[in-house]
Every structure is written in structure tokens, then in C-alpha cells.
């Protein structure tokens, strides 16, 4: 499987986070349930891309136990190894979704892309992650839009990110100005993903849909 070719590129979950919070004040563009699930899928996707895990038949399997370089990926892999009695993709998506917004936000804060800010309103403390450089946080969405305007197919990590954007219901945020050709490219892109990633995207879309059906924000 391809590994991300450029080192300066952000990780999948990081880019998803920025697309889902693409706003000058770091406010969410996507409802919390879908954000959490999209980020969780991003984290599992990173491990899949680096060859640590694979997804097949609705199950996650660890295939390489060596620790990944990224600290968060390392934590997630440890959890997967530590709780091997749970293997269903949807269980891991819902579990990781609970903490993904915080953990990915923290990772972006450590990378110097975002700045953590606590605000107290009444008795509740809410944490938000504010952009440090507005161009940097707007970049992933812009980059994806440009990718779809190009005739050559995007790299596997980019295709996965696009797949997760579609699955979480963020298509319009990315494609707001794109023409029919870009929409068409997006449509053929997910079926062309490698099988484990295609399945991950499918499970993410299913989990987001289930959250909407349950009526839980």
C-alpha cells in the first residue's frame, strides 16, 4: 500500500479536522457525531495506510505491532492490540469517536497548527482549537478541491480523505464551487479505493447515518 509521499503533508485525521472546522474561530462546520466518526475513521485510516492494521469483513485486524512514529497513532494501535476481543469496525469507530475531536485537536496543537483555548460559560468549560495561521487551516479543503479539478487520479491517502469527507456528509463544504466533472470524479473515486479503505469508508457512512437515525446530535 502506498504511504503518504510528502512528509510536509498533514495526517488524514488532521486534515479532516481542519476541513470540519474550517472557520476563522475554529467553530465546527459539521455536527459532533459525524465529526467524531470521521476523525475516528481518519485515525484507523492512518494505521491502515501505514500497514499496521487492515479492515476486512467488518473486522479490524492488527498486522504490524511495531510502534508508529506518531504518538496518537501509537496510542490507537496500543488500544487495538490491548483490546483484541473487540474487532468490529463499527465498535472501534464509535469508541474512538468519543475522544477523537480532543485527541486530534491536541495533536494539531502540538504540531503548532492550532491553539487550544478554554472558555468558561456558566459552569461548563468548553475547549476549542483556534487557527494560528488562517491559510494553513484552509489549505486542506482548497487542496482537495484542486485535486478534483485535475484529470489524474489522486493519491490513495487523498482519495481516502475525500471518501471520509463524503461519508461524513461534508461534500458540499469541499465542493461548493466545483463543477459536474469534479462531482463525477468524486463518485468514481471511492469504489476505486483499496478494499480495506473502501470498507472503512462504507462503515463510516453507515455509522454517520445510524447516528442521524437515532437522533443523537
Amino acid at each position: 500500500m502506498d504511504t503518504p509521499e510528502r512528509e510536509d503533508r498533514l495526517l488524514i485525521a488532521d486534515e479532516f479536522f481542519l476541513i470540519a472546522h474550517n472557520d476563522t474561530r475554529g467553530k465546527a462546520k459539521l455536527h459532533p457525531a459525524a465529526t467524531g466518526l470521521g476523525l475516528a475513521a481518519g485515525l484507523l485510516g492512518e494505521l491502515t495506510l501505514y500497514g499496521h492494521i487492515t479492515v476486512s469483513g467488518g473486522q479490524v485486524s492488527v498486522i504490524d505491532r511495531r510502534p508508529p512514529a506518531d504518538a496518537l497513532a501509537h496510542t490507537v494501535l496500543d488500544q487495538l492490540i490491548g483490546e483484541s476481543q473487540h474487532r468490529a469496525v463499527n465498535v472501534w469507530l464509535s469508541f474512538l469517536a468519543q475522544s477523537a475531536t480532543t485527541s486530534v485537536g491536541e495533536r494539531l496543537a502540538r504540531a503548532g497548527v492550532l491553539r487550544r483555548q478554554e472558555s468558561r460559560r456558566l459552569l461548563r468549560t468548553s475547549v476549542s482549537y483556534l487557527p494560528i495561521d488562517l491559510n494553513a487551516v484552509a489549505w486542506p479543503a482548497t487542496r482537495l478541491r484542486a485535486l478534483l479539478d485535475r484529470p489524474d487520479p489522486p493519491s490513495v491517502p487523498d482519495a481516502l480523505l475525500l471518501g471520509l469527507v463524503v461519508a461524513a456528509g461534508l461534500t458540499r463544504e469541499v465542493l461548493w464551487s466545483a463543477g459536474p466533472r469534479a462531482h463525477h470524479r468524486l463518485n468514481v473515486l471511492i469504489p476505486a479505493l483499496p478494499a480495506p479503505l473502501k470498507e472503512l469508508v462504507g462503515h463510516t457512512e453507515a455509522a454517520v447515518g445510524a447516528a442521524v437515525l437515532r437522533g443523537i446530535p
Binding site: L30, A33, G82, E83, S84, V91, Q98, G169, V188, A206
Partner: protein
């Protein structure tokens, strides 16, 4: 499936996912708050007495409760094995086949829309006394209905499901008011003596019996939704069945009691005439004489909030149903899209609102009666559709267990078999009594035109499914799976390997 480790060691995953799991009381609250008891007691039961003219309503609630309890035995057993467990058509597509499933889905869409839109007919009457008290006057029913429509549409789009705590508080208040009213009615019987005449079977097994049974079914709509919480309940094997049976029992007890005490206070011989005359006002007029002004005001305000809550709840149910069908691509994929920021099923919610607006305008322009012709006809026609769905689901449960096995003989065959027989009898009675149900002349075209909507929709749905099977097998494979169809699509695409699944993904 790998064997799970037998050692019972603490698991962060299990623990984190178990947090916030629902117990029996929470699930019952969810189910009952959609049932909106005061809407049924003050609106449906009184109009039912007046329109149908049969005094067997209290007994009908008990009979229907028994049938639904029998039905639930197989239904909850199957719910654990079905994805998209909240929707009847999912059971039908798994049990009888996908074409039947699509037919059922279309029937369900019509039935739930009829139930929701029907409520716009009663909001004007419900708001009348409250507005009178505040402003000393009230506008035409259609103005109130349009305001309510705008509110429901907006909340649906913003996905403001009313806060669970608010709903629970309203529900408890409604039940308390109903019970207080019941006590008032029992304490002031007509002719000075509490009469049990309305509970006599003679009053139920009369020519209008089918109509009364459909009316009773209408009171129970929503009991099926406990299974939605299978995945979020503490112990699906115990929580969901218990919550379902208790919901049916509570609804039956409350409605049978209230509809009986009404006859006690008015007099079993006079209830039909009085209900026909006073309609929705009946129980409030009784309470005014027996309990005083304050109780009436509280009751009227709660009736208004009850109708509003029911509207919002049915709007969301209908929108989610449409959303699930959009996710499966059985309806256009656009219905499966959500608003990113709120996660509301945007297109599905808008479509439901547009239908509501059209119906309100249609009734306003033609000057049709909102209470009987919109609220009552919409409610009973919707209730009849739900009856058809329950009966078909009951057959599907039997068919499913015949093929897949499992469960005890009682759960997989006897209980659903008895329920099916009873439900078919109710349907047969209802069809032959449809004119009584609507309160129209025995030769009115409406007596067959309204129920005929369902077989026509079902036939069209089946035809559509067969078209899908031939032209879009990927979509066909997803039928009945709801949101989970996205994950299933990957599996089927792999099985049918060389066919490019991409041809189908249309967004």
C-alpha cells in the same frame, strides 16, 4: 467471528460504550412521549366517540393491547437480528422479501405522513382556549396551523429534538392531568352512579367494531420504536422487550381508563351525542364543571404542548424514515443527505414540511373541517396504514424464523401466528367498517378510496423493487438495511466482484 476472550477483564472500550446506555424507564419515556397521551385522550377518543358512535372504545384499547403484546413477542425476538430495527419495512424485507419491503416502505411513508399532517388539523382547536385567555380572541385555525407548521419545519431543520428532560416532564404532567380528570369524572357520575356499561362486550361487537379497533391502534402508534434502542440499551435482551410490553400496558391502562371514565361522567347512553357536539372540548368542559378553572387551564395548555410535541415527533420520525430510504437509494439519494452543521436529514425534513403546507392550504382554501376531516381522517387513515404494517410484519416474523430457526416455538410461531390471525380479522373488520370509521355515509366513495391508497402504494413499491432488481442490483441488495446499507454495499460489491460498483454510487 473470533471467540471473544472468556476472561472477564476490564475493557475500556466496553466501558466507554456502555456509558450513557439506556435502562427500561428511559426507553419507556422515549416511546410514550411520542405517543402524546393527552392528544389521544382529549382529541382522538372524544372525536372517536362522536364520529364512530360506538361506546366500546375502552374495551377496544384492551383488546388491541392484547393483540399487540402477542405481536411484540416475535417482533422483539426478531429485532435483535435485524439492522434498521426501528422500521417495519426492514422486518418485512428480511422476512418476506425485498419487493414486499419496498411496498411496505411506501405504505409506511404514506401512513406516517398522514398521521403527522393530520395533527395540523387539531392544533387550531387546541390553541383556541389558550389564545382566548391570553389575547381575548383567536385567529382562524389555518393561521395557528401555519405558525405550528413553520415551527415544526424550522425545528426539524435545526434538528432541535426537544430536550429529553422537557419531554419527560411534559409527559408526566400530561399523565397526571389525565388521571386527575379521570378522578373528577369518576367522582361526578351521570345519574349519580358509576356505570360499567361501556365495558360490556355488547358495546364493542357491534357494526362499527372495525372502526373502533383502528382507532385504538392509532393510540398505540409509537410502541414499536423501543427496538430502535436495541444497541443503546443496557441489556438488549431484557431492556427492549420489557420496555415494549410495559409501554403497551401503560398506554392500554391509561386510555381504557380515561375513555371509560368519560362515559361514566357523561352517561354511557349520552356519550356519543355529547362527544359529537363538544368534540375536543368534551373533557375540558367536564373538568370545568368538576374541578374548576385552574385545572382546565392547565389541561388546555398541556393539550396544546402535547399536540405540538406529537407534531415534532412525527415530523422527525417521518423525516428519518425518508432519510433511511434515501440512504438505501430506494428513494433518490438526495433524501439521504444531511445538513452538515446540524446533522438533520435536510431534504427529507423539507419534503415532509412541503407536504404539510400543501395540505393546510388545501383545507383552508376549500373550507374543509380541520378536526374531523383533517385530524380524525388523517389519524385514522394513518392508523389503518400502521395496522397493515403491523400485520405484514407479523407474517414476516413467522417467515423469518421458519428460514433462520432459533428462538422458542412460542416466540417464533405460536405468538406471532395468533397475532397475525387477530390482526387480519381486525383489518377485515376495519375495511368493512371504513365508512363508520370516517363517519361518512355508507355509500361514500371515501370508504374505499382512502384505504385503497395503501394497496396501490404497496403494488407500486413492489413493482419499483422488481425494476431495481433487474436494473440496479446494487441498490436492490441494500433494501431494508437503512443507514447500515452503506457498509453492506461494500460487501455485496465484493461478492459480485467484476461489476464496477462505481456506476451506482450517485450523489
Amino acid at each position: 467471528m473470533p471467540s471473544t476472550s472468556t476472561v472477564d477483564r476490564p475493557s475500556n472500550v466496553s466501558e466507554a460504550l456502555a456509558r450513557g446506555r439506556l435502562g427500561v424507564p428511559s426507553v419507556i419515556f422515549f416511546v410514550l412521549s411520542a405517543a402524546a397521551p393527552l392528544t389521544v385522550v382529549a382529541g382522538v377518543v372524544t372525536t372517536g366517540y362522536g364520529v364512530i358512535g360506538v361506546t366500546g372504545i375502552p374495551l377496544a384499547f384492551l383488546v388491541v393491547a392484547a393483540v399487540l403484546a402477542l405481536f411484540s413477542v416475535g417482533y422483539v425476538a426478531m429485532s435483535r437480528r435485524v439492522e434498521n430495527a426501528g422500521a417495519f419495512y426492514a422486518y418485512i424485507s428480511r422476512g418476506i422479501g425485498r419487493p414486499a419491503g419496498v411496498g411496505a416502505a411506501w405504505v409506511a411513508l404514506i401512513a406516517y405522513n398522514a398521521l403527522q399532517v393530520g395533527l395540523y388539523g387539531t392544533i387550531g382547536v387546541a390553541a383556541e382556549p389558550v389564545l382566548d385567555r391570553i389575547f381575548g380572541g383567536h385567529p382562524h385555525w389555518s393561521i395557528v396551523a401555519l405558525v405550528a407548521w413553520a415551527l415544526v419545519g424550522l425545528l426539524g431543520l435545526l434538528r432541535v429534538d426537544i430536550n429529553g428532560l422537557v419531554l419527560a416532564a411534559l409527559l408526566v404532567a400530561e399523565i397526571v392531568v389525565i388521571l386527575v380528570f379521570d378522578l373528577g369524572q369518576l367522582g361526578n357520575p351521570a345519574d349519580g352512579q358509576v356505570s360499567f356499561a361501556a365495558l360490556s362486550p355488547d358495546n364493542l361487537f357491534v357494526p362499527g367494531v372495525g372502526a373502533v379497533l383502528v382507532l385504538a391502534i392509532l393510540g398505540f402508534v409509537g410502541f414499536e420504536s423501543a427496538v430502535v434502542f436495541s444497541e443503546e440499551s443496557k441489556d438488549p435482551k431484557r431492556t427492549v422487550p420489557l420496555a415494549t410490553y410495559l409501554s403497551v400496558a401503560i398506554i392500554a391502562g391509561l386510555y381504557a381508563l380515561s375513555s371509560w371514565t368519560m362515559t361514566v361522567a357523561v352517561g354511557p347512553d349520552k356519550i356519543v351525542a355529547e362527544a359529537g357536539e363538544q368534540s375536543v372540548g368534551l373533557i375540558f368542559n367536564l373538568a370545568a364543571a368538576q374541578l374548576g378553572d385552574t385545572a382546565v387551564t392547565i389541561g388546555q395548555v398541556l393539550f396544546l404542548t402535547s399536540v405540538l410535541a406529537a407534531m415534532i415527533s412525527f415530523h422527525n420520525t417521518t423525516a428519518r424514515y425518508t432519510f433511511a430510504l434515501g440512504r438505501e437509494r430506494v428513494l433518490p439519494a438526495v433524501f439521504g443527505q444531511t445538513s452538515p452543521r446540524t446533522g438533520s436529514p435536510r431534504a427529507a425534513s423539507l419534503a415532509q414540511s412541503v407536504l404539510g403546507l400543501l395540505v393546510i392550504l388545501l383545507y383552508t382554501v376549500n373550507g374543509w373541517d380541520p378536526v374531523v376531516q383533517l385530524f380524525f381522517w388523517g389519524g385514522t387513515t394513518g392508523g389503518f396504514g400502521v395496522l397493515l404494517l403491523i400485520a405484514t410484519t407479523s407474517v414476516a416474523v413467522i417467515a423469518y424464523f421458519v428460514r433462520h430457526g432459533g428462538e422458542t416455538l412460542w416466540r417464533r410461531a405460536i405468538a406471532p401466528g395468533l397475532a397475525t390471525i387477530a390482526l387480519v380479522v381486525i383489518i377485515w373488520l376495519a375495511v368493512s367498517n371504513f365508512a363508520d370509521l370516517l363517519g361518512v355515509a355508507p355509500d361514500s366513495h371515501l370508504r374505499w378510496a382512502l384505504p385503497a391508497v395503501y394497496p396501490v402504494a404497496a403494488a407500486l413499491g413492489v413493482a419499483w423493487a422488481l425494476l431495481l432488481r433487474n436494473n440496479r442490483p446494487d441498490t436492490y441488495a441494500r433494501i431494508g438495511l437503512g443507514a447500515a446499507s452503506a457498509a453492506a454495499a461494500v460487501r455485496t460489491a465484493e461478492q459480485q466482484a467484476p461489476t464496477p460498483a462505481g456506476a451506482e454510487v450517485s450523489r
